[in-house]
Amino acid sequence: MRYALLVQGAPYSQQASHSALRFARAVVTRGHTLDSVFFYHDGVYNAARLAAPPQDEPHLPDAWSELHEQYATALLVCIASALRRGLLDEREAARHGKMGHSLKSPFELTGLGQLIDLGQRCDRLVTFSP
């Protein structure tokens, strides 16, 4: 089955993204396809390039990146939610005259249309909200 996830909770302050990650791993372990994870609302903080959690806690941005590397899951970040919260890729940083970029690769900025598209394209779209 082809899955997509919608993640709307901030990492470390809410359980939502931690649960989403566990669900994501279960999906691929069972042999299903995890097409994409869409980060919306405070969920966009999962894509923070500069996140530096304590070593004895899960590193969510790294964990999502590993999922992408192993299973080619697209990590899609709502651009409107991200820019408001200071998460910019190199292109947006240049466009807004910012000194550095803060969006981790391979997360990519995209529009809400991608979320709607996932809902149409995938068998299941599962939401993780705080």
Binding site: L6, Y40, H41, A80, S81, G111, L112, G113, L115, I116, D117, G119, Q120, L125, T127, S129
Partner: protein
């Protein structure tokens, strides 16, 4: 109520947060507008404090937020006219459907359950 009487659609967006204080309502409405712009049939269900979004005469939020009244007024331009209000929320907030800024159809829990089944996809904000 007969399940077949439930309004059908591609996407049901459930709005459960009030218009000010968080961005949940705005984010939910944005998702609804984008889906409509993509040609999907969208229904909105106002539940709980989400009903407060439909109170008339709202200005901008005190914290510099734009508020959502202007977005709600645009819904018809996007052909989103399937608007529903939870009867329990109406009763709890002591509101009548006819005093809200947009025409809504009151729906009870049985009907809401049928709506969840009759839409291909549901997003909750």
């Amino acid at each position: 109520m007969d399940r077949h009487a439930a309004p059908r659609g591609d996407l049901l967006v459930i709005l459960r947060h009030p218009p000010h204080g968080t961005s949940w309502l705005r984010d939910g409405l944005d998702a609804a507008l984008v889906a409509a712009a993509f040609g999907q049939t969208v229904s909105l269900l106002f539940q709980g404090d989400g009903l407060l979004a439909l109170l008339d005469g709202q200005g901008r939020g005190a914290l510099g937020q734009k508020g959502t009244a202007a977005t709600l007024e645009m819904l018809s331009l996007y052909d989103i006219d399937a608007l529903f209000a939870d009867t329990e929320a109406l009763a709890r907030l002591e509101l009548r459907a006819d005093e809200l800024m947009l025409p809504v159809v009151p729906v009870d829990t049985t009907r809401i359950a049928a709506m969840l089944a009759s839409h291909r996809q549901v997003l909750v904000f």
